[in-house]
Structure formats: C-alpha cells, structure tokens
C-alpha cells in the first residue's frame, strides 16, 4: 500500500484522533481527500460484511453489493463455497451484473458481450478468433476478493496481506455469538436487503452501533412510546441504567448491552421478547453461550465490527452494512437474521417487528436518520469543522470493568468503544504494513 497524500501524512492523520483526552477532529467526517484515503486504506484492507450465506443458498445464486464504493458480485459456487469478485468487466469497465440478486448460469456484460462463469472466470469473448491475436482470457477476469464466513455472515477482503477473519474479529466473537450462535442450527437471513440513503458520513452510523447506548434515552423516546402497551406511557416507563460496553482488544470493534433487566418487549414486541427470555430456545442459547459469557444476564445490545458492519442482537436482529457514498452520504443495506430452527411464527413476527423498529420506516431508525443528516449539514461550516468534538465519556471513570464479561468492559454509557473505533481507524489510515497493524501476540 502506498501512503502518498500531499495533504495528509501519517502524523497529521494520527493527530485527528485524540483518544487520550477524548477529542475528535470533525474533518474526519467531511474531508474529501481523507475519504479517498479511506477507500484505499480502510475499505481496501478490512473485512467487509456483504450478506448472509443464506442469501445465496443454491449454486448460481448471487447478490450484488459493494466493498467500499467498488461493486462486487457474491456467488454461490457448485462446490458450495462462495466467491466474491469485482462487478466490473475488465474491457471497458461496465458492470458485469446489473440485478440486485437472482440465479445465474453465467454473467454476460451487456456492453460488448464478454461472458463470465459464476466463478468470475472470463469464458467467452465475442469474435475472439477474428478480432484478437494472442488474447489471454485468463488474465482478464474480474479481480477476486478473499471470502470468509463467520457463523453465517459473509465477509470479504481485497487485501491478500490482511490477517484471516477470525484474527481480525479479535476478542469480539463472544458478543457476536449472542446473535449468531444461539443454536447449533445457526441463523438464516429473512428476506432481502432493505436499502436507503442517508446524507451523513459512514462513521456516524458505525460508531453509534459500536459505542452509543447513550443516545437511545433521548433520540428514541418516540420509539418507546410506540412499543408500550396502550395503557402505559412515558410517565411510568423506567429506562434501563445497568449495563456494560465492550471495546475489543484489537480492531476497533465495539458493543454495548444492558444487564439484569427485562429483555425489551418495547423493542421487539411481547412474542419475540418471550422467545428470547424463556423456553427451550432460550435455555439452549444459555447453555451454549454461558461458557463464553453470562448470557442470561444480558439484554438489549448493539454492536459494530470495524469498519461498517453493525447489528443488534437480542431479537432486534437487524444486520447492516453502512456503504460509504462519498464523505457526506451512505446507503444502509439492512437485513434480518433469526435462529434457523426458530418456529415459523417467531420468524414471521421477528421480521414484522424489525420493519416496525429498525428499518427506513422504523420507529427507532427514522430518528437516527434525522440526527445524522443534521450533523452532516452543520459540518459544512468552518467553525463546525475546526472546533473539536467531545469523546470523553468513560475517561478516568474507575471500577466499571466487569470481570464477569469477557474482554475490556466499561459502563454501558461510555465512549470507550468509540475511542477504540477511531484509534483503529487512525492506525488503518496511517500504517502502511500489516506487520505493525496486525494484532501483536
């Protein structure tokens, strides 16, 4: 990787994040040149969430998505593996596949008719014999990405030097498992991607899911009202106070969760809440997960795997990639996962509750969209970009680590995971080699 930027040196990039004192330089959200570097150094080198393996169950099943701003195709192969390759013909750069998803025997570029098999090999060039001499099709297939799956979630990485996915996930996996490994049957995705556009920098969304239970108390009051039984209102609703935040040892991942409280029928409705709080599925999850962490004490939870994969365990179960579209815009690509062996009525109800809560129309999510758009709008200003933003919550707060939970934990209302997220961002942006970047054992 080259580290050539006239404007941004490793030193000036590192100075943008003051984790020690808890301050952020707002230009990380707005600067076009930093954004171009992010595409190369963050999105070009990180493991990125593309979807769930159940999105492509049969050979030839595909979905098209993005790694950073690069279009890619994710295809199930005949041998059961999944390949991910650049959705771009190497001839004149046309997209090879222009549908969102489907099943294909081959992909044919509609511009000049170059055809690729489902593995991404260039297999037919029209008039190859008549018009070319010595053209080597094997040299002109689309660029292939590395693919690895963690308990159903499909990740891909452009960088051959990057550590394997499990190393990359560091000590975050027990918290991922609270959503992905409740049953030996694993999970499945319900339905297709929901996509919408928010005019904000991708880091606002990713950081919030890593590190921000705090905002829910103010941002999501209306969503609480929406989920309360008709006879109850905010005057007799007690917000949760107890919980923890997790900051991964390496890699910028983060998670927050309430403990020792009801799981949250306000968020998921009484039927899904019951499924996650009692009965055989809950007992099985408790038995499987207790060796990793005290699952029976955990409730509503949020999580981000750096850089732009986020999800909400405990029955909300929305999973999304925040696709960057320039420094000032994202597309949210969201889907829902559920225990594969859950009863059909639970799957149906969970899907319906998800649309009600965490979707473009969701009573929670619509207010997030409002916040991020207004922040990005304010950041057009000169003063807005030069005055640092505060990220001090949890600094010098002692005694909040809970040894009952794995990894480094702090109080549920903290910015420890945000400091981890941005510190890792600064490292990815300023360190050219995985020799220094990778976890040092």
């Amino acid at each position: 990787m080259s580290l050539n930027s006239e404007k941004w040196t490793p030193e000036t990039i590192r100075a943008l994040i003051d984790a020690e004192n808890g301050a952020l330089d707002p230009r990380i959200y707005t600067d076009q040149e930093l954004y171009e570097l992010e595409l190369e150094r963050v999105f070009g080198r990180s493991w990125l969430l593309l979807g769930h393996e159940s999105h492509v169950p049969k050979p030839g099943d595909y979905l098209t998505t993005y790694m950073g701003e690069d279009p890619v195709v994710m295809v199930r192969q005949r041998n059961g593996s999944i390949k991910v390759f650049h959705n771009q013909c190497r001839h004149r750069g046309m997209k090879i596949c222009r549908a969102d998803c489907g099943n294909a025997k081959a992909f044919t570029c509609t511009y000049h008719g170059w055809a690729y098999n489902t593995a991404g090999d260039l297999v037919n060039v029209p008039f190859e014999e008549e018009a070319f001499s010595g053209f080597k099709k094997e040299d002109w297939g689309p660029i292939q990405a590395r693919v690895e799956i963690y308990k159903g979630l499909v990740f891909a990485n452009w960088d051959p030097e990057a550590p394997d996915l499990l190393t990359y996930l560091s000590d975050a996996t027990p918290y991922m498992d609270t959503m992905l490994d409740r049953s030996e049957a694993g999970t499945e995705a319900i339905g297709v991607m929901q996509k919408w556009v928010i005019d904000c920098n991708w880091k606002f969304a990713a950081e919030q899911f890593a590190s921000d239970m705090y905002h829910a108390l103010s941002s999501h009051l209306a969503a609480v009202v929406a989920g309360l039984p008709p006879e109850q209102d905010l005057s007799n609703y007690e917000p949760h106070m107890k919980g923890h935040q997790f900051r991964s040892e390496w890699g910028g991942h983060g998670c927050g969760f309430y403990i020792d409280t009801a799981r949250g029928s306000v968020r998921v409705g009484p039927i899904v809440d019951k499924y996650y709080s009692e009965g055989p599925a809950y007992e099985k999850a408790k038995e499987r997960l207790t060796p990793l962490l005290p699952y029976d004490r955990m409730a509503t939870s949020h999580m981000t795997i750096f850089p732009n994969c986020s999800f909400l365990p405990y029955g909300m179960n929305t999973v999304r990639t925040w696709h960057p579209k320039g420094p000032n815009q994202i597309e949210v690509w969201a889907f829902v996962v559920v225990d594969k062996d859950a009863p059909q009525e639970i799957k149906d109800e969970l899907a319906r509750q998800n649309v009600r809560t965490f979707s473009a129309s969701g009573v929670f999510e619509q207010d997030d969209g409002e916040n991020w758009v207004e922040i990005q709008s304010a950041l057009r200003g000169y003063k807005s970009r030069t005055a640092p933003l505060a990220m001090q919550m949890g600094l010098n707060v002692q005694g909040k680590n809970n040894p009952d939970f794995p990894g480094k934990t702090s109080y549920v209302f903290s910015e420890e995971a945000a400091r981890g997220f941005y510190s890792h961002w600064a490292r990815m942006m300023s360190e050219p080699s995985w020799d220094t970047l990778k976890p040092q054992s």
């Binding site: 319900i190 339905g191 919408w196 928010i198 009600r356 473009a360 129309s361 409002e370 709008s377």
Partner: protein, 200 residues
C-alpha cells in the same frame, strides 16, 4: 370471482406478489359516477388529514384487520421479473397490523418523534383512481396513483411516487369508508431518503 381475499374469515390476506406486477384488474364496465366520486372524495379527505397532521383521525380510517404493507422492490433480470417484489414477510418497508400502526401513531403525536418534529410539510397527490366491486357486499378494491412530496427542515425535499392497492369497506359515519388493506407499490428500489417517516 375466484380471487380469495379471505374477507369472510375476517382476515384480509396480503396480496400475492405476482398480482403486483400485473395491471390492476379493472371492471369491464366503468364504475358508477357516484361511486367513483365518493371514493375519490374519500381519498382527497384522507390526504387532507395526512397533510395537516391529523394522524389520529387518519388512523380512524383503518379497519381493525388492516394490513398496511409496502414490499421492497428489487432490480431483477427479465427472466426473474416475477420476483421484483419481495413476498410478504421477506422484506418490506412497512408491514403493519392495526396494533403496530397504533404504536406508530402514538409515536407520531408524542412530540418526541424527532424525525417529524419540527413537522414536515407534505403533499399527497392522489389520482388514477380505478374501482372494482368485490363479491363481498359494499367492498371495493381500488387502485390509485400517488406522489407524496415531503419538505422538511431547511432544504430537505423528498419525492415518493407510487401506487396504492386498497380494499375499502363502506362504513357508517366517519368518512364513509374504512381501509381494510393498503398495499403500497413504491417506485423506488433503494429508498432515496433518510427515512420513511411519512404515511402513504
């Protein structure tokens, strides 16, 4: 008519996605001028309620078995065009019952739904109203086109075009009809706004 809506069981089924890609099944003979007028006026009044933030009154137009549904639309190659719409339960922008709609309305009028406070300016334009009388007495399937415009904050503006496929039942009092089913065919695959905090 073999088109089973499940009305007799008191449950309005969601529409089959195959129905959604086809044109509305209009009547051979046009509906009566009076009925056409009544239903168009109902829609104009409904639009007034939505565009003037009378959400609780608007909610009174919903029948108890309402299914308020906006399926996700996908870009599909021609041979798979029948799968353009996500089937019910397989991906929606709205998938609401009476109870969940009541929650949405409570949120909207709570004063703390920040996505709509300060309030947006909206305009619901309803046209292309076509009516088919169903076997069930006083029950109509109605197709209409809409353009919903939203302007909020200083400069945000969103345009949501689409089509509604409704089941309307005549009712005593109120505005004369209840909405028993509303299927919203939004003319966007990726929703081109920061949220869908508007009703259709």
């Amino acid at each position: 008519m073999s088109y089973d809506l499940g009305l007799k069981k008191g449950v309005v089924k969601g529409m089959e996605v195959m129905e959604l890609i086809k044109p509305f099944k209009w009547e051979e003979s046009s509906s009566s001028l009076e009925l056409q007028h009544e239903i168009e006026q109902f829609y104009y009044k409904e639009a007034q309620l939505l565009d003037h933030s009378e959400f609780e009154t608007w909610f009174e137009l919903m029948d108890k078995d309402i299914h308020y549904w906006m399926p996700i639309r996908m870009n599909r190659v021609g041979r798979e065009v029948s799968q353009e719409y996500a089937a019910q339960g397989k991906g929606s922008h709205y998938d609401d019952t009476y109870e969940t709609m009541r929650g949405r309305i409570r949120a909207r009028v709570s004063g703390v739904n920040w996505a709509e406070n300060p309030v947006s300016r909206t305009r619901h334009l309803i046209s292309n109203v076509m009516i088919r009388e169903l076997e069930e007495p006083n029950t109509y399937e109605v197709a209409s086109s809409f353009i919903v415009y939203r302007n909020r904050s200083e400069r945000q503006s969103d345009i949501f075009p689409g089509e509604r496929r409704d089941i309307l039942r005549r009712s005593e009092g109120g505005l004369g009809f209840k909405i028993a089913r509303r299927t919203i065919l939004i003319d966007q695959s990726t929703i081109l706004s920061n949220n869908l905090s508007v009703f259709f």
